[in-house]
Amino acid sequence: MSTFKRFLVNIGLFAGLMVAVAVWAAMPWIGAVVLGVLVLLWLALARSGRRTLSVTQVGLSTLRQRIGASSVIVIGIAGVVGVLVALLAMAEGFQSTLQRTGSDDTAIVLRGGSQAELNSVLSRDNVDVITQAAGVARDASGKPIASPEVVVVANLPKKSDRSIEANVQIRGVGDQAWKLRPNVRIVDGRRFKPGLRELVVGQGAQRQFAGLEVGRSLRLGGQEWTVVGTFVAHDSHDSELWGDVQTVASAYRRGSSVQSVTAKLTSPSAFDAFKAALSSDPRLKVDVSTTRTYFAKQSENLTRTLRIVGLVVGIIMAIGAVFGALNTMFAAVATRSREIATLRAIGFRSVPVVVSVMLETLLLAALGGIVGGLVTWLIFNGYTASTLGSNFSQVVFQFRVTPNLLWNGLKWALAIGLIGGLFPAVRAARLPVTTALRES
């Protein structure tokens, strides 16, 4: 009967644990802070809390003798948190690079159903209709601030290894492009001159690809082009090469057609009118979106994939770490069984014993979480990488280890500690006092 009862209790414990982990996962940071303060208050003020504190102190004072085994918990959890945070930081960085590229008061127009600029074609007539539409902002001289653009992809050798060729995106832009994207600044050299085979190079592209320094010339579409400047945009345009739209189009035999039109709107609220005007025009079959939605959508797939990979890898590693923690803490309880039995014999109840073992595990877990997060932050925050974007060319982005990610990592660490600490703690409380005292 007693084994059956114990079995039921264990099942109950397990179910309670799952609920606790679920609640913990959903808890915002403010809830966690409140919880932490409550635990501290209990430890400091309540009688059972003070007893718990003293039992914990006894446990921690013997930690040095178990340093090897305890470091398994710390390093195991540091590994989980480190890998998880690094993968999520990659997703975060890619997403924020693309999201920064867009804004609510610029709109991009593509041929209907094309999804990415590379797939789209707009004829010259279409471009005129689009740039003259309602809602497009105009500059001082009354010209609409809109840029018809051509996007082509070229193979260039990578800087890291010249034998590897990767795709770089070349954007032919109209003369209003600089007004349209005021964040794009020339930091070296000058702008290209319309009609000449000149290019300005984004800083990210310059770092990734070989031979893009100012003054160098390169072969594109069978012709010689000169790099005349470097620009910084702090968004996905950093991965691009810019040239004059007509010159790029003719080099790639595109005739007078372009692929997209990006237009500045008089205000974000003008978007609906702009979209309505284009959709109702029988001459056009186009998709209109704000650049914010367009670029957010471009990052969706990869970001989601990275998040899922991060979670799957994180969960499997966490399972390993939980069992490592269980192992260590069971061993810790076993080596301290006499000590724990003595405490029980002189009148300590089981709650302080259970909580003290849990606290010890959580402390080690938190340490692991902090170490893992810190190492990842040191190595990967701002780390530059590039991948294939939806326009079939390299998008350069930087890893972003945000405070939110670090906090999530710590939450994972504590959850692992909670699961890994509970069962050993319960075993400690159940130790039969008499036999434990007699054991050598």
Partner: protein
């Protein structure tokens, strides 16, 4: 081998500890199996013998630049080239932009160049005879419930028809299987006639995306590739010819250095594992000091004590590792099937198993060596006295 029962008994002396450790090892090798098979799937294409015979000719400037279809006969005339086919990327979607279909417009020879595609002869005949016919991989057909005889509206994100319509009606005339050594994802492809595509396509008539050249002798790959590229040197359509494997690898490299990411993750995992299993082994030997002393007393040599502890550590790792790799091997096809091909987890290749085995043995020796040395150097008198 005759000590196996002894080692086994020692390993399971403390069941809880051993099982907990094994679960951690299982988790580590499960992860290794999954990540490594994803990496190999990315980095290598078809592993078939035919795959080594195929070259890919694409535009020198970039993969999006089309090539003239007229090049086919000129490539075919080059000595060393047995057969030439070509294909065009179609960028198809089915019903919803989320349902992306890997679809290609292909020349008649194309299917002959890929013996990995196993299409029933009758269906092949039907394909050749149907202008708007299409053949699809079994996984793809299953995902959308397509059957032979179905008429499907496939949309292209890139190519509108001459009348401005983006929907291309196609007739499913065949469903193919792929052989084991086919490139990952081939069973999710859709092939239809390039002639149909070319007739109705609004832009870029007479152009193809890339050529597939079959060599008569794989060892001649470099020379033939140079000869093919020489055909169009200094023309507006310069080409770049490389082996299919190099072509695939350059693609994978553009997505990112997947190998490096996998190595990074597994480095963190195995470092922890060494620590964890090492700790378990150290505890196990410390506990058994007196038992090991007894073994030595009754005549076991120092060497055999060393070997027994090492064997115990390796056994621990191999046990956990094999279970882990086994789960990974079973999980891959299960996930692929369960998601209808949406998530494609490749099954474990031989190289993954071999690397995994090597890792188990190396890590086993690594975690066993210190406890084993300790066991070997035991002084019988001290150990028996509990000093």
């Amino acid at each position: 081998m005759k000590y196996l029962h002894l080692i086994w008994a020692a390993l399971f002396r403390r069941k809880t500890r051993t099982i907990l450790t094994i679960v951690s090892i299982v988790a580590a090798f499960l992860l290794f199996g999954m990540l490594d098979s994803v990496r190999t799937a990315f980095e290598t294409g078809s592993t078939s013998a035919v795959g080594a015979r195929r070259l890919v000719t694409s535009s020198r400037y970039s993969i999006i630049q089309p090539l003239p279809q007229a090049l086919q006969n000129r490539i075919a005339a080059i000595p060393g080239v047995r057969k030439v086919g070509y294909a065009n990327w179609f960028g198809g979607i089915y019903q919803d932009p989320k349902n992306f279909v890997f679809s290609y417009a292909i020349s008649p020879e194309y299917l002959d160049l890929y013996p990995e595609i196993e299409l029933a002869p009758a269906q092949r005949k039907a394909f050749d005879a149907t202008r708007t016919g299409a053949v699809v991989g079994r996984t793809l057909a299953k995902r959308y419930g397509w059957k032979i005889g179905d008429k499907i509206p496939l949309q292209s994100t890139i190519f509108p028809q001459k009348n401005g319509d983006k929907t291309w009606p196609m007739d499913i005339v065949g469903i193919f299987d792929v052989s084991k050594d086919a490139a990952n994802g081939l069973d999710q492809a859709l092939f239809f006639h390039w002639t149909y595509f070319n007739e109705a396509n609004a832009y870029g008539q007479g152009t193809v995306g890339w050529y597939i050249d079959e060599l008569s002798d794989p060892s001649q790959a470099d020379q033939v590739a140079n000869r093919i590229d020489a055909l169009s040197a200094n023309s507006p359509n310069e080409t770049k010819t490389q082996t299919e494997q190099a072509f695939q690898a350059s693609f994978a490299k553009q997505i990112g250095n997947i190998g490096l990411i996998v190595v990074g993750i597994m480095g963190a995992v195995f470092f922890t594992l060494v620590l964890l299993a090492g700790n378990t082994m150290a505890q196990a030997v410390r506990e058994r000091t007196s038992e090991l002393a007894v073994l030595k007393t009754i005549g076991f040599s120092r060497g055999s004590v060393l070997m027994m502890v090492l064997a115990e550590a390796v056994l621990l790792l191999v046990l956990g590792g094999l279970i882990g790799l086994g789960i990974a091997a079973a999980l891959g096809p299960l996930v692929t099937k369960g998601s209808g091909g949406l998530v494609n987890l490749p099954s474990l290749g031989l190289s993954t198993w071999m690397t995994g085995m090597a890792l188990m043995i190396v890590i086993g020796l690594l975690v066993g060596v210190l406890p084993a040395l300790r066991g070997m150097r035991l002084n019988i008198v001290d150990a028996l006295a509990g000093r």
